[in-house]
Amino acid sequence: MSILDEGFRAPGGTSRNRPHGNMAVLRIAILVAFVVLGARLAKMQIVDGAEYAQRSRENHIVQKNILPTRGLITDRNGEPLVENVGVYSAQILPQLLPEKETDRYQIYLKIQSLLGVSPVETKARVDDAIAAGKDYIAITVANNLPKEKALALDEASVDMPGVSLAITPGREYIGGEEFSHILGYIGPQFAEDAARLKGQNYQLNEPIGKDGLEKQYESDLRGTAGFTAVEQDAYGRQIQALQSRDPVPGNSLKLAIDAGLQKYIGELLQDSLPDTTGVWGDATVAAAVVMDPFTGEILAMNSVPTYDNNIWAESKDRSDELDRLVHDEKTHTLLNKALSAAAPGSTFKLVTASAGLEEGNVTANTTRYIPKTLEFKGENGELYPLEDWRQHGTISLIDAIAWSSNIYMFEIAGGLPQERIPGLGKDPETSAVILASWARNFGFGQPTGIDLEGEASGRIPTPDWKRRIFSGPEFNPSDREWFIADTYFTAIGQGSVLATPLQVTRMTAAIANGGKLVTPHIVDSVIAPDGTTVRKIETSYRDVGLKKSTIDTVRQGMWGSVNYGAGARANIPQAVVAGKTGTAEFFKPDGTKSQHAWFTGYAPFDNPEVVVTVYFDIGVGGDKAAPTAAKILEYYFDHVKR
């Protein structure tokens, strides 16, 4: 007997019983267990299998995007106005930080010594991100690092898991502050736009144009992002490259702007701000537009004061400066004054004169005696004095333009009932409507359609407009009434009339080019990276609807203004200039009376090449704007090669 067989004899006798267990329960338990597992497996592998397969691919195939090079911007002669630069920033990916808090703090301290960022702040931001469950999104701890700091960080980041140097595309604006309003700037996407931009295949770290041409031509400048798809293991090692597509650089913009002219005007306007007459005080803002009257190409467009648009990229380091700029209530520097509306004053008389000639209530040879003051009987029978700025004597329409007579223009627009001089219409209201419709024909009261955002529409008042504006219960019924004085003030570009320097330029261009209202454009053409032209910005225009005789008469008036009249200081030796001054009275916020200075004109008189408009918020048109325009035209004829 061996222990190997059934040889065991228990001490104290047997205790063996007959087995009586029911095995069915056990068999069922086994089958149930595997059915449960099988069902779960079927759900995961067969029902949800495709989704898991997708997740598996996403797991190990890492697509890295390569941002495209943004298109450049040059002036009409190819002078570069922007440069692409790398923007260095320090990033932390909380997911990759060490587990232990003490180890993490060592990293935060190292960041402090490298970049000067407080470890408390870094810790707070990391902890917030982890608490929000967003530890897989990189946090930017420091932006716009100087190159030497960036290099130091890049070197040190080898020993700092989770910390890395990020390089994103940036822009440096090298053309000078004179271009800030035109070019705008680029910057990171705002959170609220991110979803929309994602739909347009934007990468999260891809900057977008925020203002100016950078925004307007974003789709041209942006280019197409490329990518590399890499198989990556669980430890972040790249196993193999699967696929890649090179990024396509953005298209470049060639502007119609002449950089030299733009810079010259910028400095000129800045230098011309101070008052030389001692009467009205210094101008605070100024604007100028130089345009080709036939094509609508903007050769220069300035707004003064200006600012350095590189400030947006350096916002962290220049936050005080930026803060002042954004909250600048005095000159609203960020606003492009060439696209902002102000009372156009006497420059608007070109519209009134054209309207009168077209409606036929005045001709080129209609002469009237224009006193310094005209007693005028209002609707209520009372007498009001109508003031002109000088004693004109008996003058024709051409002289009225040249000498910028107010009363002559009053009579064209609204007539003079007491002397039975007819206005544009049968009564002041109709006259005002007719004048407004001519103003709209000249492009007033609506955006010009220039390729820049933020353009003001300006305003041309009508009786309907007045009724609507003063319809509130806080106004008296008489506030809503349209008086003949309203028609008069509109006729000389005052009262409620508002126009932008660009609109005024367009009006002058229409006179210069024979009656076509062109759409201004800053960009001349979009150029592909290989140098071929993708598209040229075509000139578009509509007809103002002026007879040739009307245009000739108005031109003569403008010639007279510069050659013997109110705008004589716009005269230059290089070419014969025709123009119109404007001095628009307005009330400053403090209630004192002041006036805007305008000049708009074109040259040469016989063969128009260029239109120029100059605006100062404070000053007299003939004294301040006209000589400035003369300098611009001199520069143009001496230096700008077309």
Partner: protein, 387 residues
């Protein structure tokens, strides 16, 4: 004792006894187990590619080591099957005592050194005392019920059986090893059901358990480290990345779809996203590379193996043999169930290997020894047939 296949005419009685009983040996059961081991070797090979690059025939190779352990296990199984299981039930209390002491010892070492280790590190080999304790507990329960009328109809014997299983399950639980302590209770449940427990008793005990469970839970958390326990319960709280593993294993399993990505082609496994792919998460590897079809084949093998175990219990010659067989079936069933359930994310991550397939010597050897005990029961069922 009538059938002697390899007899030598009675001239050598001792050597004849070595060759006796093999006609009753359950070859189907062993073949099934070997098939599972073979599946395991294939999977271990695939799963170790990312960290082992040496030759296959090397003591460093995980596949080779597994083959060695399988050989040791098979030798152990053959030896044990020739060994009368009554020796084991006779010394069940001694074995049970050793099991308890070793669990206390590991707990002591664990607390001072590793916190949650379940192993004794004996130089080149590691020994997992809970593997031994499982078998010892099965033997103790079988011994107890076979000596008390062979059933669990009385409340008293039911409670005493619970007292037998509670200390080992408790010791394992505080290791902590939730999975294994559940395996202990499943073994107990299987044995008392076969031993004839009254349904009403079970229901009452179940109700009491549910009632005191919150209290026990609070108590456990109060006494032992909070994080460690909660990690077992909620894998999302795992600081060491069990949550990550759960996620990756889900992706691995699901992405296998019908037929899998193919041998050594599972990117979850090969690119290192799936951790412990040759051990606790080997089922995910199976699912990823061989798909639903491969899993069904393995399920089929497990069902066949377990049914052969049930057969052993069915034909066992006496109560002790039957209950031991039931305990072993429950042991293999529950380990398989829990491991696969963890892989399919329907059970918190816990260190239960997949029987016969997962890489690991302790488990493999002790499983083969369990099969040896089953064989011992099968081979002697006629000799001990009670009438």
């Amino acid at each position: 004792m009538s059938s002697v296949t390899y007899g030598y005419g009675g001239s050598a009685r001792t050597s004849a006894s070595v060759w006796r009983g093999w006609d009753r040996f359950d070859y189907v059961m062993v073949a099934t187990a070997l098939a599972l081991v073979a599946v395991g070797l294939v999977l271990i090979y695939s799963g170790s590619l990312s960290f082992y690059e040496g030759p296959l025939a090397s003591f460093q190779s995980p596949v080779f080591k597994q083959v060695i352990f399988a050989c040791i296990g098979i030798a152990g199984m053959l030896a044990v099957s020739k060994f009368d299981y009554h020796y084991l039930t006779h010394y069940a209390w001694v074995l049970y005592g050793i099991g308890c002491v070793s669990l206390v010892a590991i707990l002591a070492i664990g607390q001072t050194a590793f916190g949650s280790t379940r192993w004794f590190d004996l130089g080149p080999i590691q020994v997992q005392p809970s593997e031994f304790a499982k078998l010892a507990t099965i033997l103790a329960l079988a011994r107890y019920f076979s000596e008390h009328g062979g059933d669990a109809r009385e409340v008293r014997s039911l409670l005493i059986s619970l007292v037998i299983v509670a200390p080992v399950a408790g010791l394992v639980f505080v290791e902590p090893d939730l999975g294994t302590s559940i395996v202990f209770f499943a073994i107990w449940l299987g044995i008392v059901v076969v031993a004839g427990v009254k349904t009403s008793h079970l229901i009452v005990m179940g109700a009491i358990f549910i009632a005191v469970f919150p209290f026990l839970w609070t108590f456990a958390i109060a006494d032992y480290q909070v994080e460690r326990v909660s990690v077992l319960v909620d894998s999302n709280e795992d600081a060491l990345g069990a949550g990550y593993n759960v996620n990756q294993s889900k992706i691995a399993v699901g992405s296998g779809e019908w037929l899998g990505k193919g041998f050594t082609n599972g990117d979850q496994t090969q690119l290192g996203y799936l951790k412990v792919a040759t051990k606790d998460f080997i089922f995910s590897l199976l699912s990823e590379e061989f798909g639903f079809a491969g899993c069904m084949v393995v399920f089929g093998l497990f069902i066949l193996l377990l049914m052969r175990g049930v057969r052993a219990a069915q034909i066992a010659g006496d109560t002790a043999g039957q209950l031991v067989a039931v305990g072993i079936v429950m042991l293999i069933l529950m380990q398989t169930f829990i491991n696969v359930a963890v892989n399919l994310s329907i059970f918190p991550v816990t260190g239960v290997p997949l029987p016969f397939i997962s890489q690991g010597g302790s488990s493999l050897v002790s499983l083969f020894i369990s099969l040896g005990i089953l064989q011992s029961i099968v081979m002697r069922h006629r000799a001990y047939r009670q009438t």
